[in-house]
Symmetry: D2
Subunit: 375 residues, 4 copies
Amino acid sequence: MSHNTFGHLFRVTTWGESHGPALGCVIDGCPPGLPLNEADIQIWLDKRRPGQGKFVTQRREPDTVRILSGVFQDARTDGQVTTGTPISLIIDNVDQRSRDYADIASAFRPGHADWAYFAKYGVRDYRGGGRQSARETAARVAAGAVARKVLGPGVMVRGALVQIGPHGVDRTGWDWEETQRNPFWAPDPAIVPVWEQHLETIRKAGSSTGAVVEVEAIGVPAGWGAPIYGKLDAELAAALMSINATKGVEVGAGFAAAALSGEDNADEMRAGPEGPVFLSNHAGGVLGGISTGQSVIARVAFKPTSSILAPRRSINEAGEEIEIRTKGRHDPCVGIRATPVVEAMTACVLADAFLRHRGQTGGGAFAVGRTGRVQ
Amino acid sequence: MSHNTFGHLFRVTTWGESHGPALGCVIDGCPPGLPLNEADIQIWLDKRRPGQGKFVTQRREPDTVRILSGVFQDARTDGQVTTGTPISLIIDNVDQRSRDYADIASAFRPGHADWAYFAKYGVRDYRGGGRQSARETAARVAAGAVARKVLGPGVMVRGALVQIGPHGVDRTGWDWEETQRNPFWAPDPAIVPVWEQHLETIRKAGSSTGAVVEVEAIGVPAGWGAPIYGKLDAELAAALMSINATKGVEVGAGFAAAALSGEDNADEMRAGPEGPVFLSNHAGGVLGGISTGQSVIARVAFKPTSSILAPRRSINEAGEEIEIRTKGRHDPCVGIRATPVVEAMTACVLADAFLRHRGQTGGGAFAVGRTGRVQ
Amino acid sequence: MSHNTFGHLFRVTTWGESHGPALGCVIDGCPPGLPLNEADIQIWLDKRRPGQGKFVTQRREPDTVRILSGVFQDARTDGQVTTGTPISLIIDNVDQRSRDYADIASAFRPGHADWAYFAKYGVRDYRGGGRQSARETAARVAAGAVARKVLGPGVMVRGALVQIGPHGVDRTGWDWEETQRNPFWAPDPAIVPVWEQHLETIRKAGSSTGAVVEVEAIGVPAGWGAPIYGKLDAELAAALMSINATKGVEVGAGFAAAALSGEDNADEMRAGPEGPVFLSNHAGGVLGGISTGQSVIARVAFKPTSSILAPRRSINEAGEEIEIRTKGRHDPCVGIRATPVVEAMTACVLADAFLRHRGQTGGGAFAVGRTGRVQ
Amino acid sequence: MSHNTFGHLFRVTTWGESHGPALGCVIDGCPPGLPLNEADIQIWLDKRRPGQGKFVTQRREPDTVRILSGVFQDARTDGQVTTGTPISLIIDNVDQRSRDYADIASAFRPGHADWAYFAKYGVRDYRGGGRQSARETAARVAAGAVARKVLGPGVMVRGALVQIGPHGVDRTGWDWEETQRNPFWAPDPAIVPVWEQHLETIRKAGSSTGAVVEVEAIGVPAGWGAPIYGKLDAELAAALMSINATKGVEVGAGFAAAALSGEDNADEMRAGPEGPVFLSNHAGGVLGGISTGQSVIARVAFKPTSSILAPRRSINEAGEEIEIRTKGRHDPCVGIRATPVVEAMTACVLADAFLRHRGQTGGGAFAVGRTGRVQ
């Protein structure tokens, strides 16, 4: 990952500020011949879109995506397909209210990157956080939609919110269907009123709260990932940690693995038709940086939104001590709308791993009890 | 990060298997003119060296490093210095016992990468885990020693073991000096007998246990890190997650941030001589992917060693179901010797961030109350 | 260089097809604080713009550039400046005539990339050559304008056309001022009528012709370039060879160096105030891949335009043998409008070398007779 | 290409100085399962080895290569094969005579990179040119041997010397077999005595001379190369221009293409079994940066060796004007031993292009008259 680009063969470059005319991305290295229309991307952007409930920012952005390059449709192809050339996507910003930010033009919000950007660059577009804004994640979601096309129907990437503030879900009642039925991507309907109550309290206090998102990729075949420094989980960690407001990433058993015994941690194997059938998944589907054929599972911790109404002590560019309250339209819990972003980053990392694996080895995996690679 | 190389301007490529003739690394992009001798590197390798206590592997490796290129000494320089060309480091393997591994030549240890390597490559050097072996981390530690030279005396990177199995340190008694006085890098002497007891129990049971390492970098100036996909914490997450047996990485408050309120999480600032003085450090020294001038703090979770004597169910390359017990010489807690590795990876990521920051901006940071960059 | 991105710290990603809605680029890693307006870029695009004479394509494209991100202007800055975040530039396509290309929808023009794109991707936007079109070079010129800002006024990059078809300029009459006074960037007014005559003949014959462009960068300090595989001349060779229709690149004496004696080739040095004063420049300003302080000089060979009216034998996607005549609007000599493109690519490579050199070494060069680096 | 690494999926990192203990390379991303022994590499190194005739340097280096990692042999594999992990190769330096270089410890040889290295780094290993030495090319040749394994028997890369000083070969008598029968890789026996005479004259004069090498890759299928900035010919240009003493690279008709008419340049096509049969190859096997299925052909210009006995004016590090004569053991024509190096770099670029193509598209090419990709 380098500045504003990530990925190796499936490479995504994003650009744009919160209050500039537009934001977007360029996806390079996409395989040719994949059906791709704007609707295929829009469906995922709509999930991340702001203004869809009382617990997310009230900024009204349609987040309509346009494909500017990299696809082609003619009489000889059955619908519009990728051409293998760069796919440029653009999303116009339409609901900027820059006046909201005059107060912070020269002040540093505690917990925000204002100070860090100032220290590094000496100049920053302070309107809505400029490049620091979580609006940038719309470009990630758009790229993720293309990554899903690369992965094909055999790989499904899906996320759930598993904790808001101190309130975690009860995993025994996990139901993926539920994540599509409530505004929180909660896999457990029982937690929804608890979270609503918590968020209401937070909102009234002018405060904010953190969250944890879990993501699962089903159908990832064994063999993806490139040790030692391109390990699948290392790339995933970088991709997820690059999302705004993240403070931690764990794979499989994660931090809890530290307290496990070796016997409990080692996922036992029985013989399946082409490889192991695992009796548990503490590994989260990755061993030695390579996928095992189990589901790839990760969790991401999000800190509370740093733009809050509650007053905090800070300083400004002149070096004066101030007290600051951040107005404007902000998500009280940035983790809620982060679920589609976590999914998208996971899809992009997997698409890249797939192409790199195919490049080095020809693709597929070796199966037990046979000679040679199985596609 | 790409296959066996990491870093952008300060780039490290490692190579070597556990039971091959040697292992090593090539460090590219190192600034010229830095004093560098083998002793500068050996001192850090000695900290990671196996065979130094009853709770680590009994393999006897002197881990003597030789510098093969990239340095020069002549009458006109005051001692040997880096020349700016690639620094090739080599460490011979001297205590291989390959016969220990005949049993696993065609079997997959549960929790180990045996199966994943087989599925990906179809062939693997099974002796001591081959490329999967934690012996590879010696090359990281060697590279980290050079990274420390790049960072200079102003930046100090130090690590501590904060948890073994279920037993965490009491942070109120934290004393960095203590980490140099016990074989665990424990910052709290009171935990040492607890861990000894736990490890003794584990060892007798033929089991293993996990651990958590914390690392702190003091003196990192504000401004390092390159948003959005080269964020300092994202690069750190990838670097740390690439270490053998890691399952999680967190920065600052980490996963605990999810449960914080916005007011508690937002580290307040008061005016210091050139920038903010922070009243807390939930951020772990990084905001928006850029260093803030506070200490950079991260924690890494290690799973239990997967090579254990206790029998586990598995399969082999023929697809037969087997029961496996791993003999050979293994650390019962890989996290113990990981502390110098975590330090080394952190130093490498910081050295790279420093050079990239200097490349894009000229270096230094903007200070409050003044115009222009302060070196 | 990788797919559609080039550069390391100063990175340019381009996208867009000839007959799509737009084309553009994303420039990443640009230093912050540089004054940058659309007019600064437009001035260079206007030099490359089509429709400006009888010897270039009649397609009417205003090539108006818009900056979508990466700049900011507020009360505290003296005009609009770069912020250090990605600069997204877009140029709308306005004069597409796709119907011109129906004939080649499934046919391969000899000498063109039609066949190669088909073989690789299986699908291609055939309208105007799609991604193969030299319209892509508008994005390079836009990026080059930003690169010039990075280089600052101390470095001047300028190009000249030195050969069209078999007719080369007389170098004894070289006058850089002349390049701005004729539509060919010819440094010698005497050649202009010769070229006009040649192009008129070519045009009437429905043929095309090749050319050679020379580029010079004045003011490049000693020390830029990163051996061994990031040599300044190697990066320049890649950048220039990536321009449409190029078949050769040479630096300094180039291919003529093969026939020189060692004495003639070795540019002698006399003592100057801080380093050598060279008595000749066969090296073209680069030795061992590092700039010497002399002018960097390169030449690029362009083949004749492959889209010609004269009939040629070919095949189509069905595998049938055909005869093909390419209608549409084409430059009879693609080398003419390539001069600004060669300049732009040279500027981008130099800007990247500057930042990388500053990253690794802190910048500047060592001077003779002194200790230490001179900024 | 970046500093001392080149390639994307097939990546080569080289290290080592002329008079250090050893030199070598790390090859990363090599496909697993390829048979590879030291003898497979040594055979190519022996072609490049110094001390094999009166017209090359008298330094006696056996250039014996050892494989330190990345291969494995056990009962289950039929001989030693690559494992997909980094292949580390080392070649010891055994015939250093550092005393030869005392005279140039603080002086800059005209035409050599001494000054450039000093200006950039402030310190340099002056013994034998240190990192600038053409000894580094041994590592390239070793890597090229592995690249040939990746390409397999279907692709043959072979080179010939086509010019020494002003004397070019007569192409009408071209015979590839001849290149193995004379010490110059000359494809025309008639030129051999002419070159011998020329070199004898040069040697007696204490001078040196330049050369041109041509390389051809037969059997490259259509579809390799990744436009726009990863074009096959752009990558080839960078790789070849990075070889010591190169001043120019051209593909196909090269600089001569500038004087061609469009009709002559456009290689006509007739229908073959799966794609075009070309009636000429002015393109040199590459169109739009993608291979066409024809032979890939390039030429590289080498300047005369800059280390010559004939006295030249120069300066030293103190800024004093001096006259310099370079003693030591040098090739009077560096181009002669460059032929295997040009071959090796071409093989590496092609291997990388093959893997990247397979990564993005799955491999193979579309054939005319059919639907879908042909492996």
